[in-house]
Each structure stands twice: as structure tokens, then as C-alpha cells.
Amino acid sequence: MIGGKDKSSIIQMFHVHKHYGSKKALIDITLNVSKNDFLFISGPSGAGKSTLLKLLYLGEPVSEGQVLVDGMNLSRISRKRIPPLRRKFGIIFQDYKLISTKTVFDNVALVLEASGKKKKFIEKKVKSVLRTVGIEQRINALPPSLSGGEQQRVAVARAVVGSPKIILADEPTGSLDSDSADIILNLLKGFHTHGGTVIVATHDKELIRKSGERILYLKQGRLLGPTPI
């Protein structure tokens, strides 16, 4: 699949390196993700899964190599183009990154407000998404008052609400029981069926097994391909 050109690419990485100071987090990553792919990135803790996702939305700058996202070359991108780049993604962060002083509703609505949607539309859309992830009864709660699993569902709701092209999910089922994890997986699959591209970073083997999708392994910053060594 690497370098496969049968479907048009949405994400390409060419010999990408990332180091944090002297610490090498990613080494020589070359990878191609086509539109409407559903890709798992797995590997042990500290392998560089989160780092790889961060490079895609410029949460971290690339140290070396080229990254292309939906036609944008991230090493040439101007500061002004970063927000539009990020709006291509719906991101489920490993640490959720919910605003602790804002309600569940406001946290999810933020994405739509930032893209200038009308108030009426925002209200309807946010409520429907919160219903889908099964958290509508906590709509006015503040994130710190939610359980880990509930927070994760809010994070998922926020990732899908803006109808992004690509979903990046960093351990999206990390704090969930297997029933709740199934809800999230089905949500991601639904998004995929409707033409979206999904990249999930996880070491949840159960989740990978259940989905039966393409998988890439990372170990100590190197891409190992479809089977772990």
C-alpha cells in the first residue's frame, strides 16, 4: 500500500524525521494515505504514534522531510494557512483537550463557531452529534465533572461535528469499556462509509481486530509495515 496510487492521495510523508532536541521520535517515515482510507497506526508506548499525528496538523513542525496534506505542502505553508489546514481534520486528542471552563455544548460548538456557522445550525448540529455519542444528558456539564469515558465521547463529538475530511484519533477508546468503544468505532466507521478518511493511533488490539482495517506498526520511531516484528 505504501506509495500506492490507485486512489488519489490525501496524506503523503516522504522521509520524515522528527526529533525533540536530541530525542529521535520518528525516523525516516514514508507513507501514503489515500482518500477514504481507514488506517490504524499501532505500536508500543513511546513508539511515536502521537508524534506522527501531530506532524499532520502541524501540532509539531517536521524536522526533516516532506509532508503533504490534501495538496498542501506543510513545510511551505504560511502561518495564515494553518487554521484552514487544521479545519480539514477532526482530531480526537489522547488527552482530550477539552476546555475545562466551558460546557460540553460550548466545547463542541466551538468548532462550528470558528468556521463561522449560523447559531441555529450550530445548536441543532451539536445536539444531534452529542446524541449520537450518547452524552446529550450532560450537555451543560463542565468537562472536569465528567468521567474519563464521557470526556472521550465529547472529544469524539467535537472531532466529527465540523464534517472534516480526515479524522485523526489518538487512542479514541483508551478510557472506554468495550461497549462504549464499539459505539465510537461504529461512529468512525460511519464517517468512513460517508467518504471520510480515518487514521487511528492505538495499541488497543481488540479495536484493531474488530475493525479489520489496514494497519501499520511503529517501533522506536520507525515504520515497520503491516506486521509487528
Partner: protein
């Protein structure tokens, strides 16, 4: 736009004490500066009023023949800055003097000859009221052959004008200092608000919010604080002015003390300036602490 506004109001409410302190500080700065301005406009009015009374008296040599009077008058009239020239004959002057000294007119009765000279009373145009200009005109008149002496006893006015100018300069300097202080206060408030919102700002960036989306509420907040501070400052000055001027008008029914408040253009200008203070404080803070 509505969401920006909403978020700005929310910020002000969430940081109630901080916002109130900022607004009050701005209001006090505006109050002090505009009180100065008020004092100066009124002092200026009074000076102008006195200035209008500045006349030059030009006394003719006693041997000047009466038929030359129109020529002399025309000559004086021709000097730049002279508005009108009024002939006062020595008889007229004598009459006036008698009127002024009704009680002591017996002193004058004993004079068997009118000791006063013929004179011209000269008024200057509005633009030539200043001390130096009056002096210049007076010198020109004095140099005319048939004029014996000129009198324009307003030297003290000139000196007063100099002191006044010094005060005005101090006023500008103070205005500048308060302006900077107010900008600094707003900048500091916005900085603290940014600090309390740093998690939120970071997340907004991650979900693709534009810089405009993130920063606009801060600008609105700064401008609201500036505007409120300006309005409160001017209102406080207005109330103080009303209280003082009514008590002053009661005790002196004096024409000179026809004091007035700042013109609408002026105080609107001050409020605009205060809005600008809010904007500028915000700009400085965002430049410093919200680097993308």
C-alpha cells in the same frame, strides 16, 4: 461578530474585579486629563475676554493741527492688525474724566485749562490680540511724527500668557503620561485575561480557529473597557463641573465667570481617544503574549 462580542462580555464578567479596576483607572486618567482641558478652555476664554479689552491709546502732540486728524487716522488705520480707530478729542476725554470722578469734580473745576491731549483709541483685529503683536502695532504708531505717546498697559497680560503657556505644556505632558499609564493598565489586564485563557486559546488553535476569531474578543474587550472608562471619566467631570459651577454662579454674578463645559466635539474626542487606549493596550498585549 455577535459571538466575539458575547465572548468579550463574558470575559469582562468572568474577570469582574480586574475589569472594574481597569475601567476605573482609565476613568480616573480621563477625569484628570479632561479636568485640565476644561480648566484651560475656560482660562483661555477669560484671557480672550481680557484680550478683547486691549486697546492702544495714541496721544497726539499738543501742537497738531486739527485738519491733519483725518490723515493721521487714515495712517493708523493702514497699519496691519488695526481694526478701528476712534478719535477722542480732549474735550471728550475731559468730559469722560469728569463723569468718572463725579464726587471729586471740584478738583477739575479748579483747572482753568484742559490738560488732556487729543487722542486716538485703537482696537486690534482678533488675530492681533496677542501681547507681541500689540507691542508691534504700538511701536509703529509711536513712530508716526504727530504722535507723542502710546499707552497699552497690558504687559501683565503678556506675562500671564507666558505662565499660562507653561501650564499648558505641563498639561500636555501630563496628558501624555496618563495616556501611557492607561495603555499600560489595559495591556496588563488583557495579559492576565490571556493568561487565564491560555488553555482555551491553545485548544481553539488546535481545532482550526483563525487568529481573528481568537483575538477579536480581546480587542472588543479592550475597546469596551476604554469606552466605559472614557464615558465614566467625562460623566464624573460633568457632575463635578455642574456642582462647582452652580455654586460659583450663585456667589458671584460676575460676567467674567461665564464658565462652560467642554464642547461636544472635544469630549467625544476624548472618549474616542479612550477607545483607542483600549485598543492599543490590547494590541500591545496580543503582540507580546499571543504569538502564533
Amino acid at each position: 461578530m455577535a459571538t466575539y462580542y458575547h465572548r468579550a462580555i463574558q470575559d469582562i464578567k468572568d474577570n469582574g474585579f480586574l475589569s472594574a479596576t481597569t475601567i476605573i483607572t482609565i476613568a480616573l486618567s480621563i477625569l484628570i486629563v479632561s479636568a485640565f482641558a476644561l480648566f484651560f478652555t475656560n482660562a483661555n476664554d477669560i484671557m480672550n475676554y481680557w484680550g478683547k479689552g486691549v486697546r492702544i491709546m495714541a496721544y497726539l502732540k499738543p501742537d497738531t493741527s486739527q485738519k491733519n486728524f483725518p490723515d493721521i487716522k487714515r495712517e493708523i488705520q493702514g497699519i496691519y492688525g488695526v481694526q478701528d480707530v476712534n478719535f477722542i478729542s480732549k474735550e471728550e476725554a475731559f468730559k469722560r474724566l469728569k463723569e468718572q470722578m463725579k464726587r471729586q469734580s471740584s478738583i477739575l473745576m479748579n483747572l482753568n485749562e484742559n490738560p488732556l491731549p487729543d487722542a486716538f483709541e485703537i482696537r486690534m483685529t482678533a488675530s492681533s490680540q496677542g501681547g507681541e503683536k500689540v507691542e508691534e502695532i504700538a511701536t509703529k504708531i509711536e513712530s508716526l511724527p504727530s504722535i507723542e505717546d502710546v499707552e497699552y498697559g497690558q504687559k501683565w497680560l503678556e506675562r500671564f500668557t507666558n505662565i499660562f503657556d507653561l501650564f499648558r505644556l505641563a498639561g500636555y505632558a501630563m496628558g501624555g503620561i496618563f495616556f501611557m499609564a492607561a495603555v499600560f493598565i489595559v495591556a496588563n489586564t488583557i495579559r492576565l485575561v490571556i493568561y487565564t485563557r491560555r488553555e482555551e486559546i491553545e485548544i481553539m488553535r488546535l481545532v482550526g480557529a483563525s487568529e481573528k476569531f481568537i483575538k477579536s474578543p480581546f480587542y472588543i474587550e479592550g475597546i469596551i473597557q476604554g469606552t466605559l472608562g472614557g464615558i465614566i471619566g467625562i460623566a464624573a467631570l460633568f457632575i463635578t463641573f455642574k456642582l462647582i459651577s452652580s455654586s460659583v454662579e450663585h456667589s458671584f454674578k460676575y460676567e467674567l465667570l461665564n464658565i462652560r463645559f467642554l464642547s461636544p466635539e472635544f469630549y467625544c474626542g476624548i472618549i474616542l481617544c479612550s477607545m483607542f487606549v483600549g485598543w492599543l493596550g490590547c494590541y500591545i498585549s496580543l503582540k507580546q503574549f499571543l504569538k502564533a
